[in-house]
Symmetry: C2
Subunit: 425 residues, 2 copies
């Protein structure tokens, strides 16, 4: 009986969150861009002038994480510093300075009968954002959602709870201060996993769920969600070094793609090398990678040139290591490289290094990934680097939005049609 009652309570809790979010979404349809930018700037100022409360809350999280034996890397992700808060504040100011994503006329025409047809950008509705660790993501997600007219429900990791509560308090206080609905940004503040399941079963309240974290989290969300999911499971990104590549450039790009930040989704996980340049390229680049601590796993031909390395398995070719490991394969042709990417890739980001125009054209035409990059690092598939500004996530799906998702990707459109009495004949 206690369980049933707890479930009922959880259900009412979810329904309450959902109703408030819907009401906030509706209220946001009538507010001005100036009000929302005002909110962003006020939040930025709070972070700059009153960091202490947040830093104190964050210190409690960091202490808790130590107690739970989290790795130093995870604790570092969790930690907020005055400098990191200044970065977060700068991000809010940047979002405030971006053009309003709503009300843009994406297309228009006057029909022969005089009807004026406008395709106008509008918000998506209510977003549910599920994420792990980094508390500054709370601010980015809220800023992008509200500026694009969407109500947001946040569900952060429990290890960042105190930090998130403190940040959420600022976001909500400043919403109310500028006359925006406080429920435009809500936070799930009870730890039960059942709240997530409850909300994922409520398409009447949630329009889009954005899970950001490990593949396990994302698969669970995708499994349960009865609404659209914006996601990528993995980033198994490839660098293909063509027969015509500038090999010095190829080495530079590969080292950057693999080593500059190996734990992120746009880092390279696999190297494909054209057989004609394998003998020249592999020994040199192999030594450079090994000097950086990268473990190589290769196909039999690769191992001819790099005899000390382990053999790559099928699992290696499919893996997103998120670590200093790289699978390597020698291919007979550009087309074999493309087929390999089709077989093992995750449709996230692939790069080709080539001097030949036709190779670049064929690679960009045939490779079906969110970003296809010629002669640059895979690490550039990122909202900031591609010029979209802050992003709430990267999508490898082909529906709605693909690649980094910023302000524009959190909108859809409706047709607004003006007539003066037209009827159909």
């Amino acid at each position: 009986m206690i369980l049933a009652s707890a479930n009922t309570d959880l259900n009412s809790y979810c329904v309450d969150l959902g109703r408030r979010a819907r009401a906030a979404e509706r209220a946001l349809r009538l507010v001005s861009g100036a009000q929302k930018n005002d909110w962003l700037l006020r939040c930025a100022r709070r972070l700059e002038t009153q960091p202490d409360e947040i830093l104190r809350a964050n210190a409690r999280d960091v202490e808790g994480a130590r107690g739970q034996g989290l790795t130093e890397a995870l604790i570092d992700r969790l930690r907020l510093t005055p400098e990191r808060l200044r970065g977060a504040s700068a991000a809010l100011r940047e979002i405030a300075s971006m053009p309003d994503p709503l009300g843009r006329v994406l297309d228009s025409s006057v029909r022969p009968n005089g009807l004026q047809v406008h395709k106008v950008s509008v918000p998506l509705g209510v977003l549910f954002f599920i994420y792990e660790s980094r508390p500054n993501v709370t601010l980015d997600a809220a800023a992008l959602s509200v500026k694009s007219g969407n109500a947001l429900i946040l569900r952060g990791g429990k290890e960042a709870l105190h930090s998130n509560v403190a940040l959420h308090r600022i976001l909500q206080e400043e919403l109310l201060a500028v006359g925006l609905p406080g429920d435009a940004v809500q936070m799930v503040n009870i730890p039960e996993r059942a709240v997530v399941s409850g909300l994922l079963a409520m398409p009447e309240f949630i329009d889009l769920v954005i899970p950001r974290g490990g593949e396990g989290l994302i698969r669970r969300v995708e499994e349960e969600a009865r609404m659209q999911v914006l996601k990528h499971y993995r980033g198994n990104c490839h660098v293909y070094v063509d027969a015509s590549a500038d090999l010095e450039m190829a080495g530079r790009i590969l080292l950057n793609a693999k080593c500059q930040r190996p734990g992120v989704c746009n880092a390279a996980e696999s190297l494909l090398v054209h057989q004609e340049v394998a003998a020249t390229f592999l020994p040199t680049v192999g030594a450079l990678l090994q000097a950086k601590g990268v473990e190589l796993r290769g196909c039999p031909r690769t191992r001819q040139y790099l005899p000390g390395i382990a053999e790559a398995s099928e699992e290696d070719y499919a893996a997103e290591y998120l670590a200093l490991i790289l699978s390597v394969k020698v291919v007979d042709s550009l087309d074999e490289a493309i087929r390999h990417i089709e077989t093992y890739g995750s449709k996230h980001t692939e790069a080709i290094v080539t001097r030949e125009l036709e190779a670049a054209r064929r690679f960009t035409a045939l490779v079906d990934s969110a970003a296809v990059i010629v002669n640059a690092s895979t690490r550039f598939n990122d909202g900031g680097e591609l010029g979209l500004g802050a992003e709430i996530g990267i999508s490898t799906d082909k529906f709605h939005a693909r690649g980094p998702c910023g302000l524009l990707e959190l909108t859809c459109y409706k047709y607004v049609v003006h007539g003066d009495g037209q009827v159909r004949t």
Copy 2:
């Protein structure tokens, strides 16, 4: 054992369809727009010059439908005539004349580091189109899919099987004749429902399923599909007559929206009238509607002005009648009308009749439907009428595409990035 073997066979059949579609999708990435237009024009010519085979096949379907006791209306939907084939052929020519939807640069920038970023339109992949009755839809769907670079798997209604087989033969023969992959348009030619279920469980082969038919069909597909679904369940479209409306115009729009073609999704199903004009408007328009054979069902206040009519229930307000029935409600205000639409509507198409700018602004800002129309009939929410050309369906979802879906809506995009050795620092 026989069942198991039959299931295995069905499964191999689905996998074979899927593999062929994927290979065709891939081959389509390299063909020119000219080849695809050539194909469309050759198909159009075949319909014009060799209609006999199609008409004979269609006659068999019509005869079969008679034998199964289908209604005259359904038989009429099924029937092809030389005139209807000329219409279908004109539609193919129109699609051929439209701009290529692929390779458009939707956005671009040169980043400070010199990277050239292009957001380029690309096909969605493999489409699975499930539809009922009208065989000319086969041609539209194939034309739109292939022109937008997508491979298509067709699954028509069994009552139109012979017609669809004959049309599909032409489509496929002409694909091969111009050097396009014949599998770019495949047809499910065995009747088992299990094939549909099989394909809906294969996201590795199908990117988008488009069910077109009754709400039951669409809900079944949505339930089973493990990939994106482009759909609308219902079109419960409203006409709201504001206090400031030109009542003569309101009557004209309402009669058109309700009566011009009551069986389609953008026909009006519900009338909302501001209380200030109810006494003037309702008796007159009620008589006009009744003269056209429309059955009215109203709220208590409506029945004061139209005493003979039945009372509208909650079910009436939610209904998509697809017939000469109209629910009617008198509302106190514009905001009550908007709330009623939020409660009972299907997010498809709503119209307001008003002379007041502020009412039009508030209605178009707050009503969250695929098309919001000021002073014109709801019947204009249609690909042809809004200027998109032929449509493969109408979406009431907010993801990917909303409203009528034509060529552009069957594309997505990828980022193509060109550099000369850039790495991230």
